[in-house]
Symmetry: C2
Subunit: 346 residues, 2 copies
DNA sequence: TTGAAAGCGGTACCAT
DNA sequence: ATGGTACCGCTTTCAA
C-alpha cells in the first residue's frame, strides 16, 4: 500500500508534483515525470479510494438518471434499488438528478439529453434505440461525460458501458424451458411489447432458435401489446379466439403479462394453456400461484440498478474505471417455489 | 450532509467532544452530551464513510477467513470471489488472514478459532455445526470480535450474521422442478454428502415436503456419499443395482454429483434416469450438455463470498453495522441454456 | 516548473 | 471533562 507521499519521498519531489504526473496535469519536467512513473509502476501504486472519495466531495459529483419507464413494474424495482444506492452514496457527496418519464418518445429523450445541467458528469440512461439518441450520446461522451446504458443497450454508440441482461439468451432459455415442461405438440402464441424495442426483438429471435429443431413446436401468432395490460388483454383475446389450437403462450412483454393471462382465463382455456413469462411482478406471481404461469424468467431488476449505481460511484467518487464494458446478468428461471421476494432484496 | 465539525460549531464544543459522545467514549458532561445527541439527531447526522475509512487505516483492521473446504469445487468459487474482494479492499488497508483447510474436523476448527491472532477483529467462518464451535464463537463475540457465518449456519450461536442460501427451500425447489419436468411415476434415489451436515439434512427435508402430496412419487433410497466422487460412484452404483426401478436421482451432494452420474452411465441407465443436481461445477455442466442432468440449483457461490467480504468491510472500515442478520440468496434454477459462467462473474 | 499548505471527515492522543 | 492538534491519502490552489 504505497502512497503518493511515499513516491514523492522516494523521488525527492513534492506530493504536488507526483499528483500532476499521475493525473496528467502537465507542467512537470520530462525526466522527473519518467522517474515518478517508473517508481509508481514498480511499487504497484494504486490510489486509496477513501482519500479520493474525501477529496471528491468538493467537486459535487453528479449523475443524471434518465429512464422512460414510469409505472412499469419491472423498472420500479430497478429504480427502487437505485434510490437505495443513492441514499448510501449520498454520504460521500454523490448527487443524483432523476429524470423519470412515462413517454417512450425519441423527441423527449433527446431533449432530456440535450438539456442536461452542465454539472452532470455521468448519465445512467435507459436508451431508446434510435440514431438520434446515439448522436446525443456521442456529444456527451465527447464532452467527457460518462454514459452508462441500463437494461437496454443502443447499437453502435459511444457509451462507456452497459448493464442488463442478454435478451437473446432470455428467449432461448424460455423456449427451452417451455419444451422441457411440455413434451407434446406445442402450438405457441406469443405476446411481447413491441418489435421496435431491441430487447423484445432479440427475445423473440432467441425463442425462435430454441424451437427451430423441434418439429412438434410451432408459432401460430405474435402479438404486440405495447406493454399495456388493457391492450394486451384485448389483443390476446383476439389471438386466442382466432387460433383456438394454441396450447402455449410465451409472454415476453414487460407490461402485458397480466392482461394476457386474463385473456386466457376469459377464454376458459386456463387448464390447457401453459404460460412462460418474464419477471416477477405481483400479478405474475399471482398467476403462478394459480397455476396458469408455469415459470418465469427473472432478470435481476434490483441488481441491475445496484450495479449501475455502483459503477458510477466507483468512477466519479473513487476514480476507478469500470472493469467491464458489458455487465450481463444471468437470466434465471423461477417457479413458484423459488420466487422468494425477500432474498432478491440483497 | 452534516459533519462532526459542524455539530461541534453548533454546540459550541470541540470536535473531540462530539466524537466522544457519538462513539460512547465517555468523559463528557451529561448536559453537553444530551445537547450533542439532540443536534446530531435533528440534523440527521451520519458519519462519512470515506473519513472513517481513512482514519481506520491506522488500526490495521484484520479479518480471518476460516473454511474447511479446500478443493471442493463449489467453495473454490466462493473463495475466488473473496480473493477478488480482498484485492479491492486491500487499498483501504483491510488485512485478510486465510485459514483454508481440508479437514471437516471439529477439533481443527476449534483450534483455529482458539488460536486466532489477537489483532483479528472479525471472522468469516464456515462453521461445523457442533456445540464446541458455538462455545468458541461465544468467546470471540464476548471479546468484541465480529463473527459472520458463511454458506452454512450454526444453530443457537452468537454470530453477528449469516450469508448463504435457504437449504430447505433448495430442496423444495429441486423437488418441485423434478415433478414438473417428469409427470409420471417417480421412483427416486437420493445422494447427498452427509446428514451430519445441517444444510444437506435441510435440503432433504425440503425435498420430502415437495413430494409429500404426490402419490406418484416416492423415495426408494438415500445415499450418503461424504462429498467424495469415488465413494459416491461406488455407493450410487450399489443403490442403482439394488433398486433397478429408480428412474430419478436427486443429487444433493456438494462433491459427489459426478460420481453419481458416472454410476448411472455404468449401469446403462442414462436414457431413463432423470437427474436434478446442485451447483454448476464443470463436471455438472458436462453432464447437463450430455442430457443426463436435467437441471441444477445454482446457489450464487461468488455472490456469497462477495457479500460476506462486503459486510466485513463495511463494518471494519466504514463502521457500518450490517443491515440484516440473515442474508439469504435465492436458489436459482439453471438448465443448460442459462448456465452462463461469464455472467456469474459479476 | 515546482513546492508548500489547506482542506475533505473522522479518530486518537496529549495537554490542560 | 475538554480542547487542540496531528494524521489518514488525495486534490487544489497559491506562491515562488
Amino acid at each position: 500500500m504505497i502512497t503518493i507521499k511515499e513516491i514523492a519521498d522516494l523521488c525527492g519531489v513534492s506530493r504536488g508534483t507526483v499528483d500532476r504526473v499521475l493525473n496528467n496535469r502537465g507542467n512537470v519536467k520530462s525526466e522527473k515525470k519518467q522517474l515518478i512513473l517508473k517508481v509508481a509502476k514498480e511499487m504497484n501504486y494504486s490510489p486509496n479510494p477513501a482519500g479520493k472519495a474525501l477529496a471528491a466531495r468538493k467537486l459535487k459529483p453528479t449523475v443524471a438518471v434518465i429512464m422512460p419507464s414510469l409505472g412499469i413494474g419491472f423498472f420500479d424495482a430497478v429504480l427502487e434499488a437505485m434510490k437505495k444506492a443513492e441514499a448510501s452514496y449520498y454520504l460521500y457527496g454523490l448527487q443524483v438528478e432523476w429524470h423519470i418519464t412515462q413517454s417512450y418518445d425519441v423527441e423527449v429523450q433527446c431533449r432530456q439529453l440535450a438539456e442536461l445541467n452542465e454539472r452532470v458528469t455521468a448519465v445512467i440512461l435507459m436508451p431508446i434505440n434510435h440514431e438520434r439518441i446515439g448522436i446525443e450520446i456521442k456529444r456527451l461522451t465527447d464532452a467527457g461525460v460518462f454514459v452508462l446504458t441500463l437494461n437496454n443497450d443502443i447499437e453502435n454508440s459511444t457509451r462507456a458501458c452497459y448493464v442488463g441482461t442478454d435478451y437473446f439468451n432470455g428467449g432461448l432459455t424460455a423456449g427451452a424451458l417451455l419444451q422441457m415442461l411440455n413434451r407434446h405438440e406445442l402450438n405457441i402464441g406469443i405476446t411481447l411489447g413491441s418489435l421496435q424495442i431491441l430487447g423484445h426483438a432479440q427475445r423473440l429471435a432467441g425463442f425462435r432458435q430454441s424451437i427451430a429443431d423441434n418439429a412438434q413446436a410451432k408459432i401460430l401468432a405474435v402479438t404486440e401489446d405495447q406493454d399495456d395490460e388493457i391492450l394486451s388483454y384485448e389483443k390476446n383475446l383476439a389471438m386466442l379466439r382466432q387460433h383456438p389450437e394454441i396450447n402455449a403462450l410465451f409472454a415476453a412483454s414487460s407490461g402485458g403479462i397480466y392482461g394476457a393471462c386474463r385473456a386466457v382465463i376469459t377464454c376458459g382455456r386456463e387448464k390447457d394453456i401453459s404460460v412462460i413469462a418474464f419477471d416477477t411482478l405481483p400479478t405474475t406471481i399471482e398467476m403462478m400461484e394459480r397455476g396458469l404461469i408455469q415459470a418465469t424468467i427473472y432478470q435481476h431488476p434490483r441488481r441491475q440498478g445496484q450495479i449501475a449505481m455502483q459503477i458510477i460511484f466507483d468512477y466519479l467518487v473513487n476514480g476507478k474505471e469500470p472493469e467491464k464494458e458489458l455487465n450481463l446478468l444471468t437470466n434465471e428461471i423461477r417457479i413458484k417455489e423459488n420466487i422468494s421476494a425477500t432474498a432478491d432484496m440483497i
